[in-house]
C-alpha cells in the first residue's frame, strides 16, 4: 500500500508544489485548502504523513493537530509549515515531527522526511 501524505495549505501553489514533489516520488497525496477540510480528510484517510500550514481559514494548523490528537490519532509524523517570521520561534505543539519554514530552502530535501 502506498504511503499517504496529507497536505493542508490555503495557498494553491504551495499545495501544488508539494503534491507534485511527493506524487513524483510515488506517494499518494491528499490535498486540503483549509483546516476543516484537512480534518475530514485526516479522519477518513488516516495519512502516514501530514504537512500542515499554521495560518489557515476556519481551523489553524495547531488547532487541527489538537483536534486530531483528541480523536486518539497519531501526529508523530506531522509537520507544521509557516511563512510567518515570528512563528519560527514559537513553541511547537507536542507530539509532532517538526517545523518547516516557508518558502522552502531545500524543496527536494523534503522528500527525505518520508520513510517509505
Amino acid at each position: 500500500m502506498k504511503t499517504k501524505i496529507l497536505i493542508v495549505d490555503d495557498e494553491l501553489l504551495v499545495r501544488k508544489a508539494l503534491s507534485r514533489l511527493f506524487t513524483n516520488s510515488g506517494y499518494l497525496v491528499l490535498e486540503a485548502a483549509d483546516g476543516e477540510e484537512g480534518y475530514h480528510l485526516w479522519i477518513n484517510h488516516q495519512p502516514d504523513y501530514a504537512f500542515i500550514d499554521v495560518m489557515m481559514p476556519k481551523l489553524t494548523g495547531p488547532e487541527l493537530i489538537k483536534k486530531i490528537k483528541a480523536q486518539g490519532l497519531n501526529t508523530q509524523t506531522t509537520y507544521l509549515m509557516s511563512a510567518f517570521n515570528k512563528d519560527h520561534d514559537l513553541p511547537l505543539p507536542q507530539d509532532i515531527a517538526g517545523f518547516i519554514a516557508k518558502p522552502f530552502d531545500n524543496l527536494f530535501g523534503l522528500k527525505d522526511l518520508i520513510k517509505a
Binding site: E11, V14, K16, A17, A83, N85, K86, P103, L107
Partner: protein, 606 residues
C-alpha cells in the same frame, strides 16, 4: 602771656574782667555778634554749641580768623582748651583739629564757588528783582518744562530753576517716605534760614518718617518755632506739594499772588503730565502685550491697508496675500520663502462704528513639519506591524511559484522542452530575489543579527547586475572595478539588495533609457561605490530628503518611499555612509556615493 578771650562781649576768664574787648586776643562769639566783631578785625571763635553754627561757618574764612594771622600751634592748643571748657561735642572737636592746609584748601574751594556764583546770573527772587521779573522767570520755567514728561524730572528742573535764578543753592526738594516731594526754598541769603533748613533736612532724614501724611503738623512745628519763617504749602496735586519757605522779614503778600498763579499753572502742567504718563504706561502695556504675541497682528482699514501692526508683521506677506486676492477668504494658508503661514481676518467694529479688519498671520511651518513627522512615524509603525502579515501573504504564493518552478526544472529532461528551461530559470531567480526582498523587509522592521561574510565587491555587483538584467535591458550599463579586488564584511543578501535598489532607482529615474555607471574605487580604508545615472538628477534641496522614510518622487503606488531609507539604515549599521554627491564625468543625473569600511581578506576566518 595770658590770652584774652571774650565770650559774648564778656571776658571769658575772671582775670580778664577788666580787659577791654579791643585788647582781646580772641573773641569767642555767636553768630549774632558777627557784624560787631567784624569791625574789630580780631580773630574770633564761634560758639560751636550754637545751633546756628553750621559746617559752612566752621570751614569759612570768615570764621576762624578774620585777620591775616595764621593759626599756629599755640592758638590751636588754646582753642582746644576753650573747647574743653565749654564742653563742645567730640564731633565738633574733630573739626577743630583740621590742619592749616586743610583749612586753606577748604577756603580756596569756597572762594571758587563764590566767584562762579557771581559770574552766573545771580538774582535773588525774593529781594533783588521786581515782581514782573519773577513772572518772567516763572514763564521761562514753564517753557522749559513744557517737554518734560516725567514728574520727578519736572521737580528736579524746578529746583534747578530756582537755584539758577536765585543763587540759593539750598533750595531743592525733599520727599517724605511714600509721600509728596517738597520744594524747600530758603528765602534769604543771609544765612538766617540755613539752620532751620538743615533742621528740616534732619527731620527729613531721620524723623520725618513719623510725619507721613502729617504735613500740616510739620508746617505748624516750623511756623510756631520761628515766627519769622513761613512755610507756604502749595498743594498742586494730590501727589505732591510744593513748599516755599518765606521769611517774615519779607512781605509775603507781595509774592502771594504770583505764587498762586504758579500753583495753578503747575497744577495744570502736572495734571497733564500725570495723564500723559498714565496713557504712556497703558499704551506701553498694550504694546508689549501686542508684540509678545507669537503671531503677526495687523489692523487694516476696510480696503486692507495697514493702520497698525506689531513687530512680527511682515509687509511682504501682506502684499502677497493682497496680490493673490486671498484676503477675501476669512482664513487660509500661504507659502512664502519655504515657510507655511496660516492667516485669519477678523472684523472689528469700534464703539464709534468705525470698521477695521484684524489680520493675524501665524507661521505654522514647524507645527506642520512635526505633524507630518508624526504621521510618518505612525505610518512606519503601522508598516512594521503589517509587514509580517504582508510578508506572509506574499511569501506563500511566491514560495509556491519558486517551488513549482524548481520542480518543473527538475522534471524537464526532454530536449524538446529545453527552450523552457531558460525561462524557468529566469522565473526561479526572480522569485528568489522577490523572496529575499520580502525577507529583508522583515529584517528592516524586525532587525535580526545575521552572519556577516567577506564579500568581493566586484563579484557581488556583477551578480546583482545579472539579477537585474530584465530591469536594465534598455540601459547602457558600465561597471568599472579596481584591479585589486576589494572586500567588505557585510551581509551578502543585504549588500546585493542595496546595489539592486540603487540600480532600480537609477533605471526608474532615467525612465528606462540612458547610461548607468557603477564605479568602485579604493579610498584609504574605505571602498567607495558610485552609482551614477543620466537622468534628470536630484535637486540640491532634496539631497537629504531622499533618505527620509516614505519620501518618494515616484507616482503614488509606484514607490514605497522605503527603498533609500532602508538602504541608508543598513549602510549606517555597517558603519558606512551614503549620500548624494555631484555627478562626475560630465554626467548630469543623480550620483549616489556609498562608502563602506574595507575588510582585509583573511580576517573573516575567525
Amino acid at each position: 602771656m595770658p590770652l584774652k578771650v571774650f565770650y559774648n562781649n564778656q571776658p571769658l576768664r575772671e582775670d580778664l574782667v577788666s580787659v577791654d574787648i579791643n585788647q582781646a586776643d580772641f573773641i569767642y562769639t555767636s553768630i549774632k555778634n558777627l557784624n560787631e566783631i567784624n569791625l574789630l578785625s580780631k580773630p574770633f571763635l564761634l560758639n560751636l554749641q550754637d545751633p546756628l553754627v553750621t559746617f559752612e561757618h566752621i570751614n569759612s574764612s570768615q570764621y576762624y580768623w578774620i585777620d591775616d594771622k595764621k593759626l599756629d600751634e599755640d592758638k590751636i592748643n588754646f582753642l582746644e582748651k576753650i573747647a574743653e571748657r565749654i564742653n563742645i561735642q567730640s564731633a565738633t572737636h574733630q573739626k577743630l583739629n583740621l590742619s592749616i592746609k586743610e583749612i586753606e584748601h577748604q577756603n580756596s574751594i569756597l572762594m571758587k564757588k563764590r566767584i562762579k556764583l557771581q559770574e552766573q546770573k545771580k538774582i535773588n527772587l525774593f529781594e533783588n528783582i521786581q515782581l514782573q521779573q519773577q513772572y518772567y522767570f516763572f514763564y521761562e520755567f514753564i517753557k522749559e518744562v513744557e517737554d518734560t514728561e516725567n514728574l520727578h524730572e519736572l521737580l528736579n528742573k524746578l529746583a534747578k530753576f530756582f537755584q539758577r535764578h536765585t543763587g540759593i543753592k539750598q533750595c531743592g526738594f525733599i520727599q517724605f517716605k511714600n509721600q509728596q516731594p517738597i520744594l524747600i526754598l530758603p528765602n534769604s541769603n543771609q544765612g538766617h534760614i540755613l539752620p532751620y533748613y538743615q533742621q528740616l533736612q534732619h527731620y527729613h532724614i531721620d524723623d520725618l518718617y513719623f510725619y507721613e501724611n502729617r504735613l500740616t503738623e510739620v508746617t505748624q512745628i516750623i511756623n510756631s518755632a520761628y515766627d519769622y519763617i513761613h512755610l507756604m504749602p502749595l498743594e498742586v496735586s494730590n501727589q505732591f506739594s510744593v513748599f516755599f519757605i518765606l521769611s517774615g522779614e519779607l512781605k509775603v503778600s507781595d509774592h502771594y499772588n504770583w505764587l498762586l498763579n504758579l500753583q495753578s499753572l503747575l497744577k495744570t502742567k502736572i495734571q497733564s503730565l500725570s495723564l500723559l504718563q498714565n496713557i504712556k504706561k497703558n499704551s506701553l502695556i498694550w504694546k508689549s502685550a501686542f508684540n509678545q504675541l507669537g503671531l503677526a497682528v495687523a489692523i487694516l482699514d476696510e480696503k486692507y491697508k495697514i493702520v497698525l501692526s506689531n513687530i512680527h508683521y511682515r509687509p511682504e506677506l501682506h502684499a502677497l496675500l493682497l496680490q493673490s486676492n486671498r484676503l477675501s477668504q476669512l482664513q487660509g494658508e500661504i507659502s512664502y520663502q519655504d515657510q507655511l503661514y496660516h492667516y485669519e481676518i477678523i472684523d472689528i467694529i469700534l464703539t464709534d462704528q468705525r470698521k477695521f479688519k484684524c489680520l493675524l498671520i501665524n507661521n505654522i511651518q514647524k507645527e506642520r513639519e512635526s505633524f507630518n513627522q508624526f504621521l510618518q512615524k505612525q505610518k512606519l509603525e503601522l508598516m512594521a506591524r503589517l509587514s509580517d502579515r504582508i510578508a506572509h501573504d506574499l511569501l506563500n504564493p511566491i514560495g509556491g511559484i519558486q517551488s513549482l518552478t524548481e520542480l518543473l526544472l527538475s522534471e524537464t529532461v526532454d530536449p524538446k522542452q529545453i527552450l523552457y528551461i531558460d525561462d524557468l530559470k529566469q522565473i526561479q531567480s526572480a522569485t528568489q530575489r522577490a523572496i529575499d526582498i520580502i525577507k529583508s523587509l522583515q529584517d528592516f522592521t524586525q532587525p535580526q543579527s545575521k552572519q556577516n561574510s567577506l564579500l568581493n565587491i566586484g563579484d557581488e555587483i556583477k551578480t546583482t547586475l545579472i539579477f537585474s538584467k530584465s530591469l536594465t535591458r534598455y540601459i547602457n550599463v558600465k561597471l568599472s572595478l579596481p584591479k585589486i579586488p576589494l572586500f567588505v564584511k557585510v551581509q551578502k543578501d543585504l549588500f546585493q539588495q542595496i546595489i539592486f535598489n540603487l540600480i532600480q532607482n537609477a533605471v526608474h529615474a532615467m525612465n528606462n533609457q540612458g547610461d548607468l555607471i557603477i564605479h568602485v574605487v579604493n579610498n584609504s580604508s574605505f571602498v567607495e561605490i558610485l552609482v551614477q545615472d543620466s537622468g534628470p538628477g536630484i535637486p540640491n534641496q532634496l539631497r537629504e530628503a531622499v533618505f527620509t522614510p516614505l519620501f518618494t518622487t515616484k507616482q503614488l503606488g509606484q514607490g514605497t518611499g522605503l527603498g533609500l531609507a532602508f538602504v541608508k539604515g543598513v549602510i549606517e549599521a555597517w558603519n558606512g555612509w551614503i549620500g548624494v554627491t555631484d555627478p562626475i564625468n560630465n554626467f548630469t543625473g543623480a550620483c549616489f556615493l556609498v562608502r563602506l569600511p574595507l575588510a582585509l581578506k583573511g580576517t573573516d576566518e575567525n
